[in-house]
Structures are given as structure tokens and as C-alpha cells.
Symmetry: C2
Subunit: 173 residues, 2 copies
């Protein structure tokens, strides 16, 4: 019985703000990432990590019309789910530093909402398959949304906080 | 009784992929946007729209530790919920053009997952309040995540698809 199934997941009792949750929305995958990475350890991480890996964003057949005209954009914002991450920590040690930082000042996968964000370069569209460069997701990662990347903050206006400090420390050492 | 409440929202019967949804995650607000905009019509939209409005990202008290070191970053990625948008359409007419485009090639609020994305400039942090510039969200919008904005695509490498074409047509006309 469906009702039992819902409550067997302990959702009813563990979430204080269940009502709020349900009136927010229920995330549904719009598609999946095809990536060369099967495990977290394979994804380049830390300072100076380059994300040149090619992959495919495979959109569900019933949503293909939503890709109309996407081929004109050179870069896409991909919003996805850290589906192999559990729980979160407010302070954590990122791979690029030996000091802890707040989760909202890092790209840690252990976040209150396990949402990932990647900008990829669109190489080609074949129907509902988007061939892209710059994937840092694991193979099979559920995609929540794709948006066109429209504008950039000029590099000279960008401050990169603890990351710039960690880079400077590493260069010194 | 909680069980009845859950099913009274018709979630149990309307979502084919209920199981998948529940094992993805249940979005929880990490805080709320304080914005000068109360209604969608007030938010600047369309070609050349400037987003200079100041606002506050108010993070829940129990998550404040997650903001540690965020003040070093000049720009933040804010991921939020279009909580006053209902349903989605795969093809729609954006305010910046008179031709329809696929939802994933626009920033339309009527998306399969109603997730919004904004880059803001961090002006100041006061405890769990982040004073920012560049809000385009409505007052009270639930925030799902905040991440540091780390790098930019150089403007000369950016292609802006139908948006650039619509701008060119408008300049001609």
C-alpha cells in the first residue's frame, strides 16, 4: 500500500517541515549525465583541477522539445543531484586546503540540499543528446535543469576568498 | 493524521516516479531572499535588463556555521525555488524575443524543476544575513543553496544563441 511505503521511508517523522517540503516541489530528473567517471576518486579535484572531460547530457525523450534552439549557446549551466552523497556537514575540509570552511563557501557534495552546479561547453547536439566538455559529474548523475550561460563576471572583478589564499600558501610552501 | 495529510496532496497518485523522487532528495529551504520585489511584474526582464537591486539572503540560524569564510568571495551563486510558478511548458516566448524557444534555452520560471539561478555580488555579511546586489527574485523566495562563484568564461568565448539574434533584430528594427 502506497501510504505505508511513504511512511516506511521515515520521511513523515524525520522532517519537521514536511508540509513546506511538499509545497516546494519534488525534484524529477530531466535526464542523466553520461560521464567517463564512475567513482568520485576519478574526478579531478582540488587546486588547479582541470575539467576537460567530455560527456553527454541525455535528456528524457518526452522533454526533447525543451532543447529547441539550445545549439546556439556555447556554454550551459547544468544543475544536478549529488545522488551518491549522504548527509551534510556545515564545516568541512575541501581537497584544495588544509583548513575547514563553511559548506556554502565550498563546492562540497555534502550540502543541506545535495545540488551540484557545473558550467559545460556545448560541443554538439544530436536530438536529445548534448555532447559537452567539462563534466565533473559521475556517470548516471540525475540532471535537474539546464540553462543557457549568458554572462560572465570580468575576472578582474572576481575575489576568490579562501581559495586564493590557499593557492598563495601552496605556491609559497 | 500525517499519513492522510500526505496523500491528501495527491502526491501519491499523481507522480509516476514517486519512488525515484523520494530517493533523490526533498528540497528544504536553507533561508529566504529579502528583495524589493513583491510581484513578478516588478522584476526587470527582457533584453538589457539590469539587475542592480540590493537584497538580503537570510540564512536559517541553525545553518549559520555553513557561511564561515564566505565573506572572502565577491560573487555568489544562489540556487532558489520559483515558488510562485506553477507547471511548465517546453516551448515558450521569453520577454526578450517574439519567437518561442525551448525551456532549457531560456530562463523561464515555468520549468520541469522550478529552480532559479542568480549570481549576486556579496556586499557585506552580518552574521547569517548576506547583503547582496543583483537580486532578481521575489521577496520571500526560498533559497536552496549558495556556492562561491569561482571562475568565468571569457566573454570572447561566449555564444549567446537566440538572445544575440533577438538583440540584433531589435537593433535593426
Amino acid at each position: 500500500m502506497i501510504t505505508d511505503f511513504v511512511c516506511s521511508l521515515e520521511l513523515c517523522h524525520t522532517r519537521v517541515s514536511l508540509h513546506r517540503t511538499l509545497i516546494m516541489f519534488s525534484p524529477q530528473p530531466i535526464g542523466y549525465v553520461r560521464s567517463p567517471y564512475d567513482e568520485t576518486a576519478q574526478v579531478p579535484k582540488g587546486l588547479g583541477a582541470k575539467h576537460d572531460a567530455e560527456g553527454i547530457l541525455e535528456i528524457l525523450p518526452e522533454l526533447e522539445a525543451g532543447l529547441t534552439d539550445i545549439e546556439g549557446f556555447s556554454h550551459l549551466i547544468v544543475i544536478w543531484v549529488f545522488d551518491r552523497s549522504a548527509g551534510f556537514e556545515l564545516l568541512g575540509m575541501p581537497p584544495s586546503d588544509n583548513r575547514p570552511h563553511g559548506v556554502f563557501a565550498t563546492r562540497s557534495p555534502r550540502r543541506p540540499n545535495p545540488i551540484g552546479f557545473t558550467v559545460v561547453e556545448l560541443l554538439r547536439r544530436d536530438g536529445r543528446l548534448l555532447q559537452v566538455r567539462g563534466v565533473d559529474m559521475l556517470d548516471g548523475t540525475p540532471i535537474l535543469d539546464i540553462k543557457p550561460y549568458l554572462s560572465s563576471i570580468p575576472m578582474e572583478k572576481l575575489k576568490r576568498g579562501w581559495l586564493a589564499e590557499a593557492e598563495a600558501r601552496r605556491e609559497k610552501g
